[in-house]
Amino acid sequence: MQAYQCRHCGYESLTTKYYCPKCRHTEFSKVNINETGDIYSYTTIHIAPPKFAEHAPYHVVLVQMTDRLRVTGYMNQDVNIGDRVRFKEFSEGAYVFEKV
């Protein structure tokens, strides 16, 4: 899994940015990050947007990937805070996770 790190302050982001939101530096380096993380929090969505209606109920998870990076993802397995999860695939613009 790839992320971007600000060359000046180390801020990490999933996408490259025009300006670092922490220090306004403009140069980012590509970094490879470990594909496992811990569930920082989650919700189970019952009332979904049209595109997701057929998948409901499903989980939207916030995964702590590194000390500086959390990623919002999609899961269809039950989870709790602190559970270890792994990045499974990037599908239709979403990071999909599964339990380890």
């Binding site: 929090s41 979904a48 947007p49 997701f52 939207v60 999609y74």
Partner: protein, 376 residues
């Protein structure tokens, strides 16, 4: 320079099939102008979010100026998602502070009940960053506050019952408000057992879709309600970019600025309207605004401190949860309620209320405005 509230108006909130958006906008504006003694108006600002996307109606400012015979005055529609009304109110204040205007009419309006939930959800999602992976993961606005709530429960002793206590309090307040959308009593059991929207948030934890409008006349001429300060801040537009998930920095920063400009602190505020788009949001923002310590807002709710007879009454109008949430009108309707409180004419009147605060939120923390008003 000091700026004052001269007149207020508000329509019934709810499903108003017989009224067009223009009807609502004009009805609230006429009431506010009459209340102000029909002064000459130098400009009009209208807060509105989805008039274009679900009602195919723009040029709201010009419509108000024309239909009310205000002359060739400058007007504009202000969009800031759910903070559109608060930002419109602030633009009026800034316009007067600049010296360009003496008296300004601010209105807020939304018409949402004529379209399906699916269409409304799509339109509301315009307040998310399209280029982000979050929308594609199926995240929704209630979803964001569901994720926040689960973490809040994890880090504090709060439970779903505390969220229900917020919803119950606001419902009990709305019962006394004839303009509110929901005036039917509810029980804590009914609230806790209601169908889930996005766990742990159930139906009563989420604000509804609503038709309605509100309006305020502000002026540099003196009245007995002074606007002590106006502040606004922006914050992260994505959940994964929140440094502290249990904080909404735009709320904290707009509050800090508003207190600083007014020379006041949270301890000076007698009555509060907080943007409770979700029950969880009221608790977090009550902490952000300094009324309670971080992680302890839920205890204040449990102890009844935020009820009309508590030491920090929050959402005496019924809040977004039960008064209703016609998006562009919400921020203006908060000023309506605070003004009534300071005049001593409010529903759920807080005895002797002298200083009031209104906080209006847009997106998941993208925008926040805070206004502090004082009876003088």
């Amino acid at each position: 320079m000091s700026i004052y509230v001269h007149g207020i108006g508000m329509t019934k909130f709810g499903k108003l099939e017989d009224k067009t958006m223009k009807d609502l906008l004009l009805e609230a504006s006429i009431e506010a102008l009459k209340d102000a003694g029909n002064p000459e108006v130098d400009a009009v600002f209208v807060g509105n979010f989805m008039g274009g996307s679900v009602y195919n109606q723009e040029i709201l400012g010009a419509i108000v100026a024309n239909d009310l015979g205000l002359g060739y005055v400058p007007t504009a529609k202000i969009e800031g998602a759910c903070a559109s009304g608060g930002i419109a109110f602030r633009q009026a204040i800034l316009g007067i502070l600049s010296g360009e205007y003496d008296t300004v009419l601010v209105a807020g309006v939304e018409k949402m009940k004529h379209v399906s939930t699916i269409e409304v959800t799509e339109a509301i999602n315009a307040a998310m960053d399209n280029d982000s992976n979050e929308k594609h993961a199926g995240l929704t606005f209630p979803g964001f506050f569901g994720v926040l709530a689960n973490r809040y429960f994890h880090e504090t002793g709060a439970t779903k019952k505390h969220l229900a206590q917020v919803a119950l309090k606001n419902r009990e307040n709305a019962i006394n408000n004839p303009l509110a959308q929901f005036t039917k009593p509810a029980t804590i059991e009914e609230i806790m057992e209601a169908r889930m929207i996005t766990e742990p948030l159930g139906l009563f934890d989420c604000s509804p879709t609503t038709d309605g409008a509100a309006a305020v006349v502000v002026s540099k001429n003196k009245s007995d309600i002074e606007i002590k300060s106006s502040a606004q801040a922006s914050g992260p537009t994505q959940m994964q970019n929140a440094e502290n998930l249990l904080s909404i920095p735009a709320v904290g920063e707009s509050g800090r600025l508003a207190y600083e400009k007014a020379g006041l602190g949270p301890e000076d505020i007698d009555v509060v309207e907080i943007h409770d788009c979700f029950s969880m949001t009221e608790i977090i923002s009550s902490e952000e605004l300094g009324f309670f310590n971080r992680g302890e807002g839920y205890l204040a709710v449990e102890q009844g401190r935020t009820k009309p007879d508590g030491d920090k009454p929050i959402n005496t109008s019924g809040g977004l949860l039960s008064k209703g949430h016609p998006i562009g009108a919400t921020g203006v309707s908060q000023i309506y309620q605070i003004t009534h409180q300071l005049r001593g004419t409010a529903v759920n009147q807080v005895e002797g209320a002298k200083i009031g605060l209104a906080q209006n939120l847009g997106g998941t923390g993208s925008y926040s405005t805070v206004h502090i008003l004082e009876r003088v």
